[in-house]
Amino acid sequence: MNLSRDDIPALAFSALLLGLAAMLPLTGSSYWMGIGLSIAMFTVLSTSWALFSGPTHYISLATAAFFGLGTYTVGLGFESLPFWLLIIIAAAIGAALAGIVGLATLRLSGVYFVIFTLGLAELVRQLTTWVQNLTGQRGFYVLTDIGETEIYLMLVGLAALVFLTGWLIGRSRLGFALRIIGDDEEVARHSGINTARAKVLLFMVSGLVAAATGAILAPRYVYIEPSLAFSPILSFQVVIMALLGGPGRLWGPLVGVIPFTFLWEAISSSFPNQTTLVLGIAFLVIVYALPRGFVGLIEDGRHRLRAREGYA
């Protein structure tokens, strides 16, 4: 593999940031661990979402389906299998479902795809409930010693893998193909790119990561039931955070997740009676004020800086 001159400092800088993130448990504050955990979870989900949706412009609302499958995998197998194995199984199930769904639906475009992915979470949830109802299976209890520090570190590790994957894809022929698909799918097909294969592969990556995240978080929720595991709001949160950051860059969702988590926290603690209302207003303001997300803001700033230097 060829690393260019710019790559080495960028990789070193990323490694340093991840290292710093992994030190958070040393602060010993459970409150900051909670916020860190939320940031890590949404960083993983939004970044993996943007790996697929960023270049292809296909908006997927299926995150909750994969996430819920992951938590259920742990709930089901928790008594009989080791936790690390369950995370891998969850990831495999997530990838397999994304593959099947992708093959069936990625020929759909635009709003049809959005609607289908939204329905997918509900479909998986109803299927799960149906199976539980047939078997008389009760809610699952995941009672463990796995605490938030372990969960947090696993999520940071997963984030590192997601960033590495994204970086590698960006440099590969696959990444190039995806950018062309995003610009004009017709052109891509005529250039001999197997568009279906490229899209399905990336959709599988985001499904895999979301399922693994759900599996990792299962011990935190302790009690697994369909209405909680497949909560549709998760899918929307992921999309909003990624869009707030800017899905066009690998680090884009991250700069959306961090301010959004603090905003969410501030709203939840300051407006306990109007949380949902204030959040809705915040969404509107974000969409109007920052149509290209924080990435757009940062890049405009850079351009202005450069322009000024040019005149000087």
Binding site: G136, G139, Y141, R220, V222, I233, P272, T275, T276
Partner: protein, 400 residues
């Protein structure tokens, strides 16, 4: 703010010290955190059974000057958060209450899933968690893992066996026959109750002539009710949630389901249920119950209506209030020391609106109401696992 309300506030501020002379304002309040749904799927239930009790209790305590902690009267200050019916938010709110707000106590959240999600953190920070809406058959495992978690409302098996025993009693008295139609909402709680109800019905010698389920959120329940009616049952059991509790009852009325016993689960004890169906509600059976004619409950219901502007329900409301009474008594006895309060909870009998409560070795309240029945405008307990004041179940006669 309008000028008039500013003036009124100012006047109130001036008048307050005069009204309550001798009240020690310098005393630190006891800070109590509360997290439960104000939005999301469980917000409706929490607005009936959970939040009004917190408002009632805190106003009652502060009206009499506060909690007596070691001779000092300390008012209570409630810090509320909305968890949006999302366990992740419940967890975050508990972290915020424990670490940022540094509250002295945290009230147990609302509902089974949200309570269990909060349990690991409540346990780690050492907060006693006196649950009043956490219905689970896993009490032994949960209290084994979280030694400060307490359970008031009972388990699914107890509730399901309760209605079966009531039906058996009516059958043995020759009031109804042995054919039962059972339906359940295909969601966690409905599934649990149905799974416990099937073997109990069989063991009691009932003939299950119709056994079906419907997904949560089903709007049209007429096929379910028609199916049940075609099986010509003597008794109908619906292990249902609030929206479909209302839906099933409405369909039974439309189809004129002729049964001697009609039971729906969660929501049948809500005053709004009686309000919706009027006289037709008479002799409907439902999950839960209270000793509705007892002096303690009557006084509680009157105070609840006055402070919250709405009547309490006839099941979880009173249990939620009981959990606050228990917390209050424990703090007044051993002080605002969480560890001491937890220890005290395990060894004392508490006097509550539901009668005396003693937790067993698994932090469980073994004596709870399982079945109630609407009789002359009150939802009265007809079966329990050891509560006083049960009345006999009455045969349902028609829908008018």
């Amino acid at each position: 703010m309008k000028r008039r309300s500013v003036l009124r506030l100012g006047a109130a501020a001036l008048a307050a010290p005069a009204i309550i002379p001798g009240r020690a304002f310098a005393n630190d309040p006891i800070r109590i955190g509360a997290v439960a749904p104000k939005t999301g799927p469980l917000a409706g239930g929490a607005a009936v059974s959970h939040w009004p009790n917190i408002a009632l209790w805190s106003s009652q305590v502060n009206e009499r000057g506060g909690l007596n902690v070691g001779g000092t009267m300390r008012p209570v200050e409630i810090i509320e958060y909305d968890d949006q019916t999302n366990p992740g938010e419940t967890i975050r709110a508990v972290e915020r209450l424990a670490n940022q707000d540094n509250v002295d106590f945290i009230l147990a959240p609302y509902g089974t899933g949200l309570n269990i999600a909060a349990a690991p953190l409540m346990d780690r920070f050492g907060y006693p968690q006196i649950t009043s809406t956490c219905i689970t058959d896993q009490v032994v495992d949960l209290s084994g893992q979280f030694s400060n978690m307490f359970f008031l409302l009972g388990g699914a098996t107890g509730l399901a066996e309760g209605i079966v025993s009531v039906l058996a009693g009516m059958r043995d008295a020759g009031q109804i026959g042995g054919n039962v139609a059972m339906v359940n909402v295909a969601d966690a709680f409905g599934i649990e109750l149905a799974a416990a109800g099937r073997p109990a019905l069989e063991a009691a010698g009932f003939n299950l002539v119709y056994d079906s389920s419907y997904p949560l959120g089903t709007q049209d329940l007429s096929p379910v009710m028609r199916g049940a009616k075609d099986a010509a049952p003597d008794a109908f059991i619906g292990f249902s949630y609030p929206p479909d509790t209302f839906g099933l009852t409405e369909q039974a009325q439309i189809e004129e389901l002729e049964v001697g016993a009609f039971y729906t689960a969660v929501g049948a004890s809500f005053p709004a249920y009686a309000g919706r169906f009027g006289p037709a509600v008479n002799n409907i059976l439902g999950a839960g119950g209270v000793n509705a004619t007892s002096e303690a409950f009557q006084a509680y219901a009157a105070a609840h209506t006055e402070v919250a502007g709405q009547a309490p329900d006839f099941w979880a409301s009173a249990m939620m209030y009981a959990s606050l009474q228990i917390l209050e008594a424990a703090i007044e006895t051993v002080g605002a020391d969480r560890e001491a309060v937890s220890a005290h909870l395990k060894e004392t009998t508490f006097d509550t609106v539901n009668g005396p409560v003693t937790f067993d070795e698994h932090n469980n309240n073994p004596e709870y109401w399982t079945v109630g029945q609407w009789q002359d405008g009150l939802f009265r307990g007809v079966a329990s696992t050891g509560r006083e004041g049960a009345v006999d179940a009455v045969v349902k006669d028609g829908w008018t």
